[in-house]
């Protein structure tokens, strides 16, 4: 709840920059809100609804139709796992499973301590390095489940967590 209240002025200013927006502006506004706030909070969804005169259920429905929107704040370390064609061929499914297991997280979720968040993306544009993941934008290439475990261990160490 506290993040929502802290974020409130921000969502208001984003919406203020779309004074005459109508329902057809929903997706660009959702994208902008996510860009600036990291995710779509309840507060943001409700306020976007008020602004565009759309029910919250409808906004949630639209936002869940697309993979790009998330409803939980990003973790301190945001991990993207590529599931594009080249990575798939090179075994990204087992990479994803390894990440999920190491973090005990489902795609779209954020760990309770706020340290990690996990996202599955269609292609990171680094097909020659497949399979790849990124941690806060830094690429890790040619991965295997064992390498994934080491990366996560290193990140935890860096964060000072056992």
């Amino acid at each position: 709840m506290s993040t929502a209240t802290m974020a409130a002025p921000d969502i208001d200013s984003i919406l203020a920059s779309h004074p005459d927006a109508r329902r057809d502006a929903l997706i660009p506004i959702l994208q902008e809100v996510q860009d600036r706030m990291g995710y779509l909070s309840r507060d943001a969804v409700v306020k976007i609804g008020e602004h565009l005169k759309l029910p919250a259920s409808k906004i949630y429905g639209v936002a869940t139709f697309y993979n790009q929107f998330r409803f939980k704040p990003l973790g301190k370390y945001h991990i993207q796992v590529c599931r594009g064609t080249a990575c798939h061929v090179k075994g990204s499914l087992s990479v994803l499973d390894a990440v999920k297991q190491a973090l005990n997280l489902a795609p779209g979720d954020t760990s309770r301590d706020g340290l990690f968040s996990l996202e599955v993306v269609a292609c990171l544009g680094a097909c020659g390095l497949a399979p790849v993941i990124t941690v806060n934008g830094e690429f890790f290439a040619g991965l295997s489940p064992a390498k994934v475990e080491k990366i996560i261990r290193d990140v935890r160490k860096e964060a000072g967590v056992k």
């Binding site: 969804v45 029910p55 259920s57 906004i59 429905g61 869940t64 139709f65």
Partner: protein, 573 residues
């Protein structure tokens, strides 16, 4: 006029008519799953496809306009095969546990599968597995049984203006849910149950309380009391094959006694009582410059709606509890005292055409020292099931009359079941309360009928009273917007959540067919025209209740037992 041909028969279609409308007018039947009469078609389910000569593919008849010269085949081999495939694909992701489903034998998916001769599981694959949403006291959602026709979504948004639910996710993960996929209980759902009436499968049903009621009936310590709402007796018969609009009042009372209810009361009695309180409140508001227009408070879906969407207009809502809750309050006070029964030993069951009444009965405002005034609410459908469970044949039961003191009603209380009924009853009694004379013609035709909004001006002793009657909450919202914008010629507004009133309530026998609803409505007005006592103030037992217990309308005791206040409700809108 458009000259078309349907199954080889020439037919004149109207300009702008869809193929489906023309086909049905011509006396042919095309099955549908997602079609809702009077709402814009979505063409989602593809059951209504027909073959039109010269067109490359099959045509969804619900959304395709008829055109001059069309030659339509409703049951060509191709059309029938396509429909069968649609059903087979739907069944591939369906639990197929019909024997255990509350919709068994009343399921559109099931009957279409039967009619199309589906005899084996042609497509098999992984099935969806969702948790049931048991969070609401009124409505149970089981997404596993959902076929994504979207009717509930459309009714919730387009008829009720609530939009508590929508499609969530995409592809094989698509399902119906609330904002943030949470329980209905924390959503803006108003519990009206119109979604249940349109659901073709068992995905939406009422939360049933039959078990609790049967347990109370079997408990020798408990005095179990039933009270039935005005709209129940004119619709229950449909569940037993009687013609639509048959009044089974006496038979139902007798059958309830056979089930083991010690006392059977009529909620129309407290409808009369409501009129005494609400009529007095209106007279008081008009004469003392109170907040106007006054809005009725009988319909619990509507109450939750205004708490969520129009909290600024809550001061306009009558402080009267609904007839159900007035009944509960006087059963657990006056009745308990008279009969020298501990209120905790009384189990009061309300038989309602409504699912929102289940929510209302559980509201904290409706408890006294943690004892609910109404212990359980059964819908018309649940009562029918209870009768069937006990092997009772309504046609073989001799009618009986309800019990005193809350069994006597006037027809003014009875017509509460139809949109406009509360208004008509209120006008009859308000006229008497103000002038001391009876209204010359008791029939107030202007407020009757199935239209979403009815308005009238009534002359009472030189006072020009503006009244409006709305049902279906999008109609209510439009009127409330006018009031917010400053409209001030209205004194009294009746709002019913369901289109047409309680006769079309979410707990009624499954149907949204307007002709059926009209027959139920006619039945109520037939009762009204056939009986002598047609005004709430002429109900002798209501008068006795005031004399012996309550004092006077709006008096201290009434205030304590029969009135309440509602407050703004925070939900995700």
């Amino acid at each position: 006029m458009l000259n078309i041909e349907i199954n080889g028969k020439p037919f004149e279609a109207k300009e702008g008519e869809t193929i489906l409308e023309a086909v049905r007018r011509a006396g042919f039947e095309v099955p549908t799953l997602c079609y809702i009469k009077d709402l814009a078609p979505t063409g989602a389910c593809r059951m209504c496809v027909v073959e039109v000569e010269g067109m490359p593919g099959l045509v969804p008849s619900c959304s395709y306009p008829a055109a001059n010269g069309m030659k339509i085949h409703t049951h060509s081999a191709r059309a029938v095969r396509a429909r069968k495939t649609v059903i087979e694909l739907l069944l591939a992701d369906h639990p197929n546990d019909c024997l255990y489903c509350s919709r068994n034998n009343q399921c559109e998916l099931q009957s279409l599968a039967a009619d199309l001769g589906v005899r084996d599981e042609r497509y098999a694959g992984a099935k969806s597995s969702y948790k049931q949403d048991l969070s609401s006291p009124s409505i149970l959602r089981d997404s596993n049984k959902c076929i994504l026709c979207g009717k509930c979504v459309r009714v919730c948004e387009e008829v009720q203006g609530v939009a508590a639910i929508d499609f969530i996710g995409r592809g094989s993960r698509a399902h119906i849910g609330t904002a943030f996929d949470e329980g209905l209980n924390v959503s803006s759902c108003i519990n009206c149950g119109q979604c249940i009436l349109v659901c073709p499968t068992g995905a939406l049903t009422e939360r049933t309380y039959i078990k609790e009621v049967v347990a109370a009936l079997n408990d020798p310590e408990m005095i179990v009391v039933a009270s039935h709402a005005p709209a129940v007796s004119v619709s229950l018969g449909e569940e037993f094959g009687l013609p639509v609009g048959t009044d089974v009042d006496g038979v139902m009372v007798a059958a309830l006694r056979q089930l083991g209810f010690e006392y059977v009361f009529d909620t129309s009695f407290t409808a009369d009582l409501t009129i005494m309180e609400e009529g007095s409140e209106l007279v008081q508001r008009v004469s003392t410059g109170g907040v106007l227009p006054m809005l009725t408070s009988c319909s619990p879906g509507w109450i939750k709606f205004i708490e969520e969407f129009y909290p600024d207009l809550l001061p306009n809502v009558s402080t009267c509890k609904s007839p159900q809750q007035m009944m509960g309050a006087i059963i657990k006070s006056f009745f308990a005292e008279r009969m020298k029964i501990d209120p905790k030993k009384i189990f009061s069951v309300s038989i309602m055409p409504c699912t929102a009444k289940k929510f209302e009965a559980a509201r904290p405002e409706m408890m006294h020292h943690d004892v609910p005034d109404i212990d359980a609410v059964l819908t018309t459908r649940e009562l029918a099931l209870l009768f069937r469970m006990r092997g009772m044949d309504l046609q073989a039961v001799t009618p009986e009359t309800a019990d005193t003191p809350f069994g006597e009603r006037t027809t003014a209380g009875k017509i509460f079941g139809a949109s406009g009924g509360v208004m008509e009853a209120a006008i009859r009694s308000a006229f008497f309360l103000i002038t001391g004379k009876e209204l010359g013609d008791l029939n107030v035709e202007a407020v009757r009928g199935l239209e979403g909004r009815k308005e009238a001006r009534v002359q009472i002793d030189g006072l020009d009273v503006g009244v409006a009657v709305v049902s279906g909450l999008t109609n209510a919202a439009k009127l409330l917007d006018e009031i917010r914008a400053g409209r001030s010629d209205l004194h009294f507004i009746e709002v019913m959540t369901c289109p047409g009133g309680c006769i079309a309530g979410g707990g009624q026998p499954l149907s949204t067919n307007k002709d059926k609803i009209r027959e139920r409505m006619k039945a109520l007005y037939r009762i009204d025209s056939n009986e002598a006592k047609r005004t709430s103030h002429s109900n002798e037992w209501v008068q006795r209740l005031y004399k012996e217990y309550l004092g006077q309308p709006l008096g201290e005791k009434s205030h304590h037992l029969l009135h309440t206040h509602y407050a703004e409700r925070e939900v995700l809108l």
